[in-house]
């Protein structure tokens, strides 16, 4: 079976796949020079960023990198394959807890003396954390594969609540209700802490925030490239076909169960890595870091960014993660927003209002998300120079047609 035989069903669904996933089945075109230059400039900016900005921005950046990795993973599952999952917080938790347990030390001070830890190198903790999260996804996938559409969404809800319960209960490993500190990351003797070794680059002291920034950047780029390549490859096409119609996919020779299991594996490995980075960014883990709200936030990220788009997931993660932190930082400057207990809306709440409203508006008016809007903009700019390609024409999206995933004829769990 060649790729050409797979693409017609994807393309046949009124160019929605192409609109939703700009990296998807669009016709191969030569990467333009402008794009390369822009990418280069962006990379350079990110590389020199720590030299010019202070710790707050670096920490925000690291949190965004970690969240972006998780969002890319969730987007593979929800956006590309059309499997609604609210369990992302659970897989995040698996990664974060595993890392903390494997690389943490036993014992502790005072009441924390009951903690256990294997004390292995942090790199081992990170890798095993990612693998365990993947394993959890793999274990859940047979259940998931039996459930269609919305049933999966609600069933996955269960994992989050069970996960929080386990974290609350399994005190020796997770630290229980109060949580436990996450060990500092280090790589072959080079710690990502404030010292050991002392490091200066161009006269700027490279402390924990600077070092973590580069760690997050490297991991995010790797995660980004992997996801993009995955989507452009044969498995990626198979996943998109799966979203559009499971029947069509299986007729084309796509092993539906196996692909669903694999996408769950990959997505939860992304979540696991994101969880490890989250633990590093906060410096500790606690049950309230992995509640339903976190799952909903990740869902918000991919909806805002654009379902099925890798770059969109990163944009969405930037929006949802950085917003509350920025509000917090500039609470006294912004109208309406204030520090907690001063009558105004606190930063966290203000951010939630904003992305809640953004979700509604995006589903109503721009179902392809920020990525879709950006793509339309570049096409409009390009139209002046090049003759319009035969690719995805962009008529104004009708709110009703919502070219988001799964427009299979049976409409999810519609019992007709």
């Amino acid at each position: 079976m060649s790729e050409q035989t797979v693409s017609p069903p994807a393309g046949a669904t009124r160019s929605t796949a192409a609109a939703a996933a700009p990296s998807g089945p669009a016709p191969a075109r030569r990467p333009s020079v402008v794009k390369w230059v822009l990418t280069g400039v962006l990379l350079l900016f990110l590389l020199v960023f720590p030299l010019y900005f202070d710790e707050f921005w670096l920490r925000t950046g690291f949190a965004v990198f970690g969240a972006a990795i998780g969002a890319i993973g969730l987007n593979l599952l929800v956006g590309t394959t059309g499997q609604l999952s609210l369990a992302h917080a659970f897989f995040l938790a698996v990664g974060a807890v595993s890392y903390t347990y494997i690389s943490g030390e036993s014992g502790g001070l005072g009441t924390r003396a009951g903690l256990e830890g294997l004390g292995l190198p942090p790199l081992v903790g990170m890798v095993v954390g990612v693998l365990l999260a993947g394993l959890a996804g793999l274990v859940f996938s047979p259940i998931a594969a039996r459930l269609r559409g919305i049933y999966l969404g609600v069933a996955s809800l269960a994992l989050v609540f069970i996960g929080v319960h386990v974290i609350n209960t399994w005190t020796p490993v997770t630290g229980g209700f109060n949580g436990r500190a996450a060990p500092e990351f280090s790589l072959f003797g080079f710690t990502f802490g404030n010292s050991d070794p002392q490091l200066f680059v161009l006269g700027v002291p490279f402390r924990e925030a600077e070092r973590l920034w580069y760690l997050g950047l490297v991991l995010l780029i790797a995660a980004y490239v992997f996801a993009r390549n995955l989507l452009r490859s044969r498995p990626g096409r198979a996943l998109q076909t799966l979203r559009d119609s499971e029947v069509a996919a299986s007729v084309m020779g796509v092993n539906v169960q196996a692909y669903k299991a694999r996408v769950f594996l990959v997505s939860s490995m992304y979540a696991g890595l994101s969880g490890v980075l989250y633990a590093l960014s906060i410096g500790s883990i606690a049950p309230e870091s992995f509640t339903l709200l976190v799952s909903v936030q990740y869902l918000a990220m991919i909806v805002l960014g654009g379902l099925g788009s890798v770059g969109g997931a990163v944009l969405g993660a930037l929006f949802v993660t950085a917003l509350p932190l920025l509000f917090q930082q500039y609470a006294d400057v912004l109208p309406l927003v204030s520090a907690p207990g001063q009558g105004g809306i606190s930063a966290g709440f203000a951010a939630r209002f904003l992305y809640g409203a953004a979700i509604i508006l995006i589903v109503l008016f721009e179902p392809a998300g920020l990525a879709g809007a950006a793509q339309r903009l570049t096409q409009r700019l390009r139209r002046g120079r090049a003759p319009a390609r035969g690719g995805p024409a962009t008529p104004p999206e009708q709110p009703g047609s919502a070219p988001t995933p799964s427009d299979r004829p049976a409409q999810g769990s519609n019992p007709r």
């Binding site: 259940i143 039996r146 069933a155 269960a158 339903l292 709440f349 979700i359 009703g400 995933p405 019992p415």
Partner: protein, 296 residues
Amino acid sequence: MTQFLSLLFNGLSLGAIYALIALGFVIIFKASEVVSFTHGSLLLLGAYSIARLSESLGFLGAVLVGLLITALAAFVVERFIINRLRGAPVISLAIVTIGVDIILLTELIRRIGPDILNVPHPWAGESVRIGGIGITQNRLVAMIVAGILIVLFFVAFKYSSWGVAMRASAEDGETAALMGIRQGRVSALAWVVAGVLAGVAALFLVGSPTPGVSSAVYATALRALPAAILGGLDSTGGALVGGLLIGVAESLAAGYQEQLLFLGRGFGEVVPYVVMIAVLLVRPSGLFGTKELTRV
């Protein structure tokens, strides 16, 4: 044995409340093919309104206005958002209700804060004993009211023109529309009914033994979602059975907590989800849900 019966009875009363909420999920799903994740915050909205208004309007007035507010909120969500997305994929619809939920819940939590608001039920908090089985008066009233409402609902669903129209639209929306059934109206009415049911459930859910209206009520309301799912999302009878099942399971797990200690404290709150997963493993469309057929 008495303990078991008592837990069972209390579980059934809790289950009756869950059944009201789950019924709301099911009729919304049947009418507009949306799984409403907004329902938890709608319920909290009802509870909050009743608690806040009861100072000025008295208990009965507060309940009536509270139900009106909940119904109105559900109506607004349907008219301005869901109705505009008719025919959109199920996942988009679910996501948009999550968006509404974020906004509504955030505002309510912001208003409630760390407080516990009290609803002055005229029935006192003390418990009654029926043949050695203790149950709070609130739960007893809840059981009776829920029973009456559920019977009323099923009668209306079977015989009233709204019920017939609604079942026809759930069966086949296009054909029903061709027959002159106004889909928009059916859907809007379903949301309103679900809103009222959630409001009634809220009234009892915040009475004793629950301390009052706090943001924790949201988590309780969410546990009706597994009830609806395990009964089968498109089965009204399933919602009833699912609600009762979840209520009893939760009550038993909480009551025998000492014996279940190896599963950790507060396991009762997780039990609904465990039961749901177990049922879905055997029957992927829930106990009474229609099996999804694949046609090419």
